[in-house]
């Protein structure tokens, strides 16, 4: 069986309307993939930066996967949340990126979006806070059913990922 190591960091986020952000992340794979070691999901710390606009999480990722097929190459998905001074959390963005298929170091910038909601929801969000959220989180990384959403652009999530492949070339796979 071929093996894949993903070693790296969720570095941080930029271009969000406010700092004091944290991120929930997870790895989604197809059915042929198995996790041998490492965390498949997690939540970062809340960063409240002093002198710059970007939040930094430096959240380590180290995961060892094995696979019998190429379908469902791993994807990393994120939910970025904003935590205000009273400890209330508000959704700021959804996003996903594919784990690169070529081995080596990769700097990845992942754009994010959030559901914008109806006009009424936007008015109530302006005065009361809170934001519409997805009931079904599969929508973050799947293309089906997206057409029913209306969304708005949010900031970017930055990742530094190292990819190590093992025995892919033994099965004739060129990455």
């Amino acid at each position: 069986m071929a093996e894949l190591h993903i070693i790296g960091q969720i570095v941080g986020a930029s271009e969000f309307p406010e700092s004091s952000l944290f991120c929930k992340w997870g790895i989604h794979t197809g059915g042929a993939w198995k996790t041998l070691a490492g965390l498949r999901d997690g939540q970062t710390q809340v960063d409240n930066p002093v002198s710059h606009d970007s939040a930094y999480w430096a959240h380590p990722i180290d995961i060892h996967l094995t696979t019998k097929g190429l379908q469902g190459w791993p994807k990393i998905h994120f939910q970025v949340w904003h935590q205000d001074s009273h400890g209330r959390s508000e959704l700021y963005g959804y996003g996903f990126c594919h784990v690169p298929t070529s081995p080596g170091m990769h700097e990845i910038v992942c754009p994010t979006w959030r559901p914008s909601g109806s006009f009424q929801e936007q008015v109530s969000q302006f005065f009361l806070g809170g934001s519409p959220q997805l009931k079904n989180h599969d929508l973050i990384y799947s293309g089906a059913d997206r057409y029913r959403l209306s969304t708005i652009a949010m900031g970017k999530v930055h990742l530094r990922l190292g990819v190590i492949l093992r025995n892919f070339d033994k099965f004739g796979i060129e990455c």
């Binding site: 939540q43 710390q45 190292g162």
Partner: protein, 216 residues
Amino acid sequence: MASSSVFLLMVGGQIETGEFPEFDDIYCKYCFTYGQDWLITSGLEEGLTQVTKKSKDERQIFTWNFPLDITFKSTNPFGWPQCIVQAYGLDAFGTEVVRGYGVCHVPITPGRHKIQIPMFVPESSSQLQKFTAWILGRRPEFIDPRVVASGEGREVTRVRSQGFVTISFNVVMKDMKKLGYDVIPFRSDFIHGPRECRNERHINRNMMKNRSFMMF
């Protein structure tokens, strides 16, 4: 540990510079953390830099130029080494205060890499603690700095990022390809030559960049 299933990871490098706009004197402590399958074969796992002052020009940087030199061996890339940097400084009363924790993985590809590490300090978890910290002049610290290199239990921490440290790494590996691991992309232009040739060329190119590696 059978010698045929072991690969080596040799890391050279330096803690180059830092940026902490709010502070004047900083020194760094570094340590490496790694998984169970890893061992250090040579080099120092921990170290302490000199104390340096912020430069008096418009760059406002701290320069340590502190050497890192360590070799690991392992059977499994899982638990790949991470470099933890802690920055310390003196406050107005002369007590030592932590100015930042930072972490990055040792790069997984051979060659030269320059990484800017964000540095953050934990925040007090309640207003009362914030107040007592202010009265006593004792800021919150991590008891074990290795928590910054682990992905678990981070959702309970609130941090303030307040600077950067720049580290350069020179990475050389041995026997990764022999064990079936690919760390650099498949190159079709080398496909007709022997597979080892491809790796050698890559590493040689990096050796030429850094003359200190010529003796390796």
